[in-house]
């Protein structure tokens, strides 16, 4: 096992950031933590790379305890924190050289590992890191996290705030890294990135709700899921919510994802009803649940089906 975590807990004052999480990551695996702000992802990563002490539970990263074995651990993990944290006033190449030096290595020693990534920002190597675009900062931060050839890589929301193209390029770079056998733990609030992981853990408010492959997670959805379309999206949304047998109703782009409370649901009946409510071009088709559908369903269940955010003591990012 590359990473083993048992019942890890962490509180900030009254706020429980981690409420007892457990999981294991296999060597060479790309393991994703999917969940919104406040789920506990950053807290978890900081504990695992030894920047924060847990209150309870235990963890092992490549066999080392982050609490007692942190010196050795810090030499062997790579970490890319959630906010850009390199030296803004140093240039691209100065930053890279700096990190190589503090890890007691050189840029050339492990250049192979970062070549494909660094290549893209090399033309700007004399530019100050603070003047880079979001996508370039990511690439630099990733290069600096890999420069010492770590055994495990922790990426905390590496694609947040970055445009769709850069996000894809980043994941393409991760694909190439996979070939080297590097274990990668990555957190993200973007549901579509979940499908690019080997296994994922769904997190919400300090709990892990489920751990499985992306396909496996959706397999646990447990009910039939229907995608409904019509000519006017907002009217469709309101109409579905007022339908007497509606289970869950959530928008997904131009469609609404719908579950019915009955086992013998007949989509034709819903279609006629919607048409009688004045909607046109109604289409209803059965679909496979996505990771997002599953997370919403698990969150809904966790909240007891009521509106979320009822508790004003919910942890939120500071």
């Amino acid at each position: 096992m590359s990473v083993t975590v048992r019942n890890l807990k962490k509180k900030y004052g009254d706020i429980e950031a981690l409420k007892g999480v457990s999981f294991e990551v296999n060597p060479g695996e790309r393991f994703g933590f999917i969940g919104p702000d406040g789920a506990g992802k950053t807290t978890l990563f900081r504990i695992l790379v030894s920047l924060l002490l847990p209150d309870d539970g235990e963890a092992r990263v490549i066999g080392l305890d982050p609490v007692t074995g942190y010196k050795e651990l810090r030499r062997r993990v790579g970490y890319m924190p959630g906010r850009f944290s390199l030296y803004q006033d140093l240039s691209v190449e100065e930053n890279l050289r700096f990190f190589a030096t503090i890890f007691n290595t050189t840029v050339s020693a492990n250049y192979d590992l970062i070549r494909d990534i660094y290549h893209q920002i090399e033309p700007f190597k004399k530019r100050r890191a603070g003047d880079l675009s979001g996508g370039m900062k990511q690439k630099l931060a990733l290069s600096c996290a890999l420069i010492h050839k770590p055994d495990v890589l922790f990426l905390d929301e590496p694609t947040t705030g970055v445009d769709a193209v850069s996000r894809r390029e980043f994941w393409d770079m991760l694909d190439k890294l996979k070939a080297t056998g590097l274990t990668v733990l990555v957190s993200t609030p973007y549901m579509d990135e979940a499908s690019r992981c080997d296994r994922i853990a769904l997190m919400h408010r300090g709990h892990i709700l489920d751990v499985n492959t992306p396909q496996g997670i959706s397999g646990n959805f447990g009910r039939e899921l229907w995608a409904v379309r019509a000519d006017r999206c907002y009217r469709l949304l309101k109409a579905l919510r007022s339908f007497p047998h509606a289970g869950s109703v959530f928008t997904f782009g131009e469609q609404v994802h719908y579950t019915d409370r009955r086992d013998d649901f007949n989509p034709e009946e819903l279609k006629s009803w919607l048409e009688s409510e004045g909607l046109a071009q109604v289409q209803i088709e059965k679909i496979r649940p996505t990771v997002e559908d599953t997370l919403i369903s698990l969150m809904d269940r966790q909240e007891g089906g009521g509106p979320p955010d009822n508790s004003a003591t919910e942890f939120h990012r500071t």
Binding site: F84, S85, G134, L237, G253
Partner: protein
């Protein structure tokens, strides 16, 4: 200006020295429309929005926002619009009602009007129980919804929203979009930028900026059909990659700072949220508060 257009833009351009951030863009937005504004970092979205909100004077071209000329009536525009930014909107050290009263005041509402709007808003958002709570003690989702409601407290013709739902959980995001739908239903035009491509699909029309130009403007369905793409994400990628220079996009332009710093200066307040920009010097060998010794 045509009857039901709330924004009319014609060959709007903004240069910084010899760099052209916004390159002769033209488009119209109808009253009550939900208009999505997409583009890679550095494409020119932020500059375009700053011109439309009266914060930056264009170099050339023309634009009318809510009936006012952006060149000569910038201050008038500010009174007719609402603005909500992801990173900053409400004062963390004021209570819910204090924030509402503050923004109501800035937007020129009378005392009595503010009081009645406050009650209406608290009831609609179902947060009457926390009226005297500090913003910093509210969950992120509540803050977002309250920020939006405050941005439209003066019933502006248009509300500009800069990545309003970043990081928020999928359920709260959808509740937030409910508010946007309702506002649009009431005739408020919503101008929104987002990195969540599925949110682009909630919009009536979407425009994608590439290197200062508008390279696509259509309904989400229209864009998907035209580019043969299953979703807006794919449309975006196809467009952005077909641009005349990956090198250009990589950063040889003035807007190279990430959205975190560039997009949040207009309008409200001065202090960035706590933690932002303070921890720029962390390295793995440095314990961060509470680390092992």
């Amino acid at each position: 200006m045509k009857e039901d257009n709330i924004i009319e833009v014609s060959k709007l351009t903004r240069r910084f020295g010899d760099f052209t951030a916004v390159d002769h863009i033209s488009f119209e937005v109808k009253r009550g429309e939900i208009f999505g504004f997409l583009g890679a970092n550095g494409a020119g979205k932020t500059t375009a929005i700053r011109m439309l909100t009266g914060l930056l004077t264009p170099t050339s071209g023309a634009a009318m926002v809510a009936g006012e000329d952006v060149f000569t009536r910038a201050e008038a525009i500010k009174k007719k619009i609402g603005y909500m930014s992801q990173k900053f909107s409400l004062y963390e050290d004021l209570t819910v009602t204090e924030n509402i009263r503050f923004y109501g005041g800035i937007y020129g509402l009378s005392g009595r009007n503010i009081r009645s709007k406050t009650e209406e808003l608290l009831h609609r958002l179902e947060i009457t129980g926390v009226r005297d709570r500090l913003i910093r003690d509210l969950p992120l989702g509540w803050k977002q919804k309250l920020a939006f409601s405050t941005a439209v407290i003066h019933d502006p013709a248009i509300v500009f929203m800069d990545e309003p739902t970043s990081g928020v959980d999928p359920i709260t995001r959808r509740q937030f979009w409910d508010l946007i739908y309702e506002a649009s239903d009431r005739g408020t035009t919503v101008f929104v930028t987002t990195h969540y491509m599925d949110e682009a699909e909630y919009c009536d029309r979407v425009t994608i900026m590439v290197e200062g130009r508008i390279d696509a403007l259509d309904t989400p369905g229209g864009l998907k059909r035209r580019f043969g793409a299953p979703d807006i994400d794919e449309v975006f990628v196809k467009l952005a990659r077909s641009g005349s220079g990956a090198a250009n996009r990589l950063g040889k332009n003035a807007e190279t700072r990430s959205d975190e710093s560039a997009a949040n200066r207009p309008g409200r307040g001065a202090t960035p949220p706590p933690g932002e920009g303070t921890a720029s010097r962390s390295n793995p060998n440095q314990p961060e508060g509470g680390g092992a010794t």
